[in-house]
């Protein structure tokens, strides 16, 4: 996986990267309380969160003591396995026709992700269409149309301020008529504590289910890798609203690695499906748990 090598390279660029601290840690010879405390700090500084970090380290400490492990390299492998266990999921393949509903809070990269995915699916020889259901943010539809031009994919859009559910309704009719395999729906960013905006999203979701019953509907939430513990509340709220099937983790080309998803995946049974690693049209990859963990550790 070339892309994760890239992440590893970028990680190496920053002194703050947890990988470096852990690297130092695993080079130590003595396994004592300080060792585990340091490990806990590394996980916390990767946004894994206090509760999950403590949980992982306690589990690890117990195993290390029970099995009398002395070699830091072995402990590293054990840590790797613990994290893998939490984030490695089998993802059921898409059944066409598919509708992917892209949701999330403001500024995580929904429109960019929709554009990149359109290009990716088109390259696979699928018939793709996009719906600009972000009718709120200024010039959001124009932004999606630029991606549409780049990918050579049609975009269904209405005027700014139009009812997003109506855009989706039209897009579904058009997708059916044109025998489309995948319809990608871009939605407006909304904070999870805004009740009205969340019910608007729920309405879009219901319209899809009602108007295209035979389609395989997948709700994705786009999570910015720089986010902190608020991601937990984001996923809870969106899951309740549109039954989230997957996470897209974006901006992994920065120095943050979105450690909070380790906590979320473990608790909520929601897999990470894609990762975004740049602003180019090809900068999206299927999630690979092993490479991801290796890039972090």
């Amino acid at each position: 996986m070339g892309i994760f090598q890239l992440i590893a390279e970028k990680l190496a660029k920053t002194k703050q990267a947890i990988g470096n601290k852990l690297f130092e840690l695993f080079n130590k010879k003595v396994i004592n309380d300080e060792f585990f405390e340091e490990m806990e700090n590394c996980l916390i500084s990767a946004d894994v969160g206090v509760t999950t970090s403590v949980e992982i380290v306690e589990q690890l400490r117990e195993e290390v003591i029970n099995n009398r492990v002395k070699d830091p390299a072995v402990i590293k492998d054990m840590l790797r396995d613990f994290i893998l266990e939490r984030i490695d999921y089998e993802i059921s393949p898409l059944q066409y026709p598919t509708v992917i509903l892209m949701t999330g809070v403001n500024g995580t990269g929904k429109t960019t992700t929709v554009g990149k995915l359109a290009h990716k699916f088109k390259k696979q020889g699928l018939k793709v269409m996009m719906a600009a259901a972000d009718t709120f943010r200024a010039a959001a539809a124009e932004q999606l149309c630029v991606w549409g031009d780049r990918a050579g994919v049609r975009v269904i859009k209405h005027e700014e301020g139009a009812d997003p559910a109506a855009v989706v309704y039209d897009a579904i009719q058009s997708a059916k008529a044109h025998d489309i395999d995948i319809l990608l729906v871009d939605t407006a960013g909304r904070l999870q504590n805004k009740k009205n905006l969340m019910s608007e999203l729920g309405k879009i979701y219901r319209v899809i289910g009602r108007e295209w019953a035979e389609a395989d509907v997948r709700s994705y939430i786009v999570v910015d890798a720089t986010v902190g513990q608020n991601a937990v509340s984001q996923i809870e709220a969106f899951d309740e609203c549109v039954d989230i099937d997957g996470i897209v983790l974006t901006k992994l080309d920065g120095t943050a690695k979105g450690g909070v998803v380790i906590a979320i995946c473990g608790e909520r049974d929601v897999p990470i499906v894609h990762v975004g690693v740049g602003e180019g049209i090809d900068d999206i990859e299927d999630f690979d748990a092993e490479s991801f963990v290796d890039a972090i550790l």
């Binding site: 500084s45 500024g107 990269g109 124009e142 932004q143 630029v146 901006k251 120095t255």
Partner: protein, 442 residues
Amino acid sequence: MGLFSSLSEKLNHVFSKLKNKGKLTDLEIRQAMREVRIALLEADVNFSVVKDFIARVSEKASGEDILKSLTPDQQVIKIVNEELTALMGGQVSKIAVSPSPPTVILMCGLQGAGKTTMCGKLGLHLRKQGKKPMLVACDIYRPAAIKQLQVVGKNIDVPVYEEGTNSPVNTAKNAIKEATRLGIDTVIIDTAGRLHIDDKLMDELKAVKSAVNPIETLLVVDSMTGQDAVTVAKAFDEAIDITGVIMTKMDSDTRGGAALSIKAVTGKPIKMVGIGEKMSDIEPFYPDRMASRILGMGDVLTLIEKAQNAISEQDAIEMEKKFRENSFTLDDYLVQFESIKNMGGMQGLLSMIPGMSRFNPDDIDESKISRIKAIIQSMTPRERKNPDVIKGSHRQRIAKGSGTTVQEVNQLLKQFEQTKQMMKQLKNGRGMKLPFGMGGFR
């Protein structure tokens, strides 16, 4: 993370055994600091910032003044809160104005932080202060970013300068010339979102900065940012020497520890915050309030301020007198609801009450409050003064008049009775200044 996970309650638990002893041992301070540490980490304060902070607070807490405390948990919270506020910067920091116009403000930050929206909000904010601002579109990378700024500018009636995909350095330079020509006094430059480790784009930002020599270089940061906020802020500050920070999306339910981290590592003040989807949703940053929010203790100061704005001193005294004499009527009840409405509704209020910050304000049905109002307004003045006279047929009439049901009328009367009972109990205590004498509106 339930309703009762706020720090004050956890600390309460830690100190429950020592209530009324009024003294702290080192062990107790350590236990308390463990809770403070977790609270700060859960609020996304950077972990090394937390470490330094805990060390400093522990030292202070083990000093003499702690011994004078009434209850240990209150004392600890007070110290933590004071130290946090001091670290946050103490006072409100305003946007600087250049002595030789135009005042140039350069906005920068990561992708998706909310720079373009913030340019608009800031533009409107300054326009309302009587300034003549102009927005400059220097994001030539993100599709339709220029268009977005143009739409934003049109909405707030502020001119937007752009040169398409011309180099940001040239665009910015020409914009200043144009501003001088048009008599514009404030120029806000929107730049592309960039990663702090993207050398090429960081160089571009440096070039823009040295070309226009801004008096303010503001880093726009998403308030939901995690531990990495420190890395990002440090990198931007080292590269282009920022003068301040703007936190966006503060209307989310994040505790916003990133604000503290950034202040701690850069020493630069947080100047403004974005608090909503509308262009007018921008506020100055209040360090003390942020401290309470990070600790999950609610925004008590904002609440008090809002209460003061909504209720005149005279009204408050009047109300207090009525509480004392127990001559509180349904009319007064109505007045209380009006005050709540003036204070931003039940939802807004709850989010500011300590311990309620985790409570989902959406669970409250604001329409219920309007129904209650309708019920009271459907009563005769006599009924409002003395609810005891309201009999079965009256209730039916009131329900019809207000478009509600008899059950709802009954419920209201019961609640009113309970409120009165509660006030009786409060009578012997301190006088109530805030209209909290209401229960059960969920």
